[in-house]
């Protein structure tokens, strides 16, 4: 299990580096990316993420333990950004490896769904300010 909450950019590659794939047959990854618009379609400048770090680590650790108990999976990496995230950049990356693909898909889905429900992290959408017209 590898958990990181960081102000630095994250990538699928950085998550994969943390896993031991020896003897495993399935690797599933999820990458959440900062969207260019809000739910109303208005353009965004960037996102700002804030965490309650000590509790966020604990909650991510809990969900990893649940995955271990339910699917027997130990190879899981969860990386989440805090601070300013530019549009098009990853805000969260999850990688799960297991012997067979079915458990890896299920566990990866469970990880991101549970993270959104239980991990104390907040996203702020910062609107793209339109320039004042030149008169």
């Amino acid at each position: 299990m590898y958990i990181e909450i960081t102000e630095r950019p994250i990538s699928l590659e950085s998550a994969l580096e943390k896993l031991h794939l020896d003897g495993l047959g399935g690797l599933v990854t999820f990458c959440g990316i900062a969207r260019p618009t809000d739910s109303q379609g208005r353009p965004l400048s960037h996102l700002e993420y804030e965490a309650y770090p000590e509790m966020a680590y604990t909650e991510i650790e809990k969900l990893c333990r649940q995955i271990e108990r339910r699917w027997g999976i130990t190879q899981i990496a969860v990386l989440h950004r805090v601070g300013r995230v530019e549009i098009g950049q990853p805000s969260v990356v999850i990688a799960v490896a297991s012997e067979h693909r079915a458990e890896a898909f299920a566990a990866c889905r469970y990880a991101i769904d549970t993270l959104k429900e239980t991990v104390p992290i907040w996203k702020k959408e910062v609107p793209l300010m339109s320039k004042a017209p030149v008169l």
Binding site: G32, Y52, P120, K123
Partner: protein, 80 residues
């Protein structure tokens, strides 16, 4: 009792503080929130949506507070 209060995201911005101590004579997290609303009326709009953690565990309105606890209030989670 003395309680450490932590606020996050929009709740933090409404109050303008991220962390402080309060002397609390009540029993539950909900009562503590009520006292904070008195002190910081900007919290009132968050009454129905805010979530609670006590000592870094998800908690609720009726969760009991003890001396020295860390109690966090925050808006709905939106990570990912």
């Amino acid at each position: 009792m003395r309680v450490r209060v932590k606020l996050f995201s929009l709740v933090r911005e409404a109050v303008g503080k991220d962390e402080f101590f309060v002397d609390f004579r009540g029993k539950t997290a909900g009562e503590l929130w009520g006292e904070l609303e008195h002190k910081f009326p900007a919290l009132v709009p968050f009454r129905l949506s805010r979530a609670i953690a006590v000592n870094r565990q998800h908690a609720h309105e009726d969760s009991l507070i003890n001396d020295g606890d860390e109690v966090a209030f925050f808006p709905p989670l939106s990570g990912g």
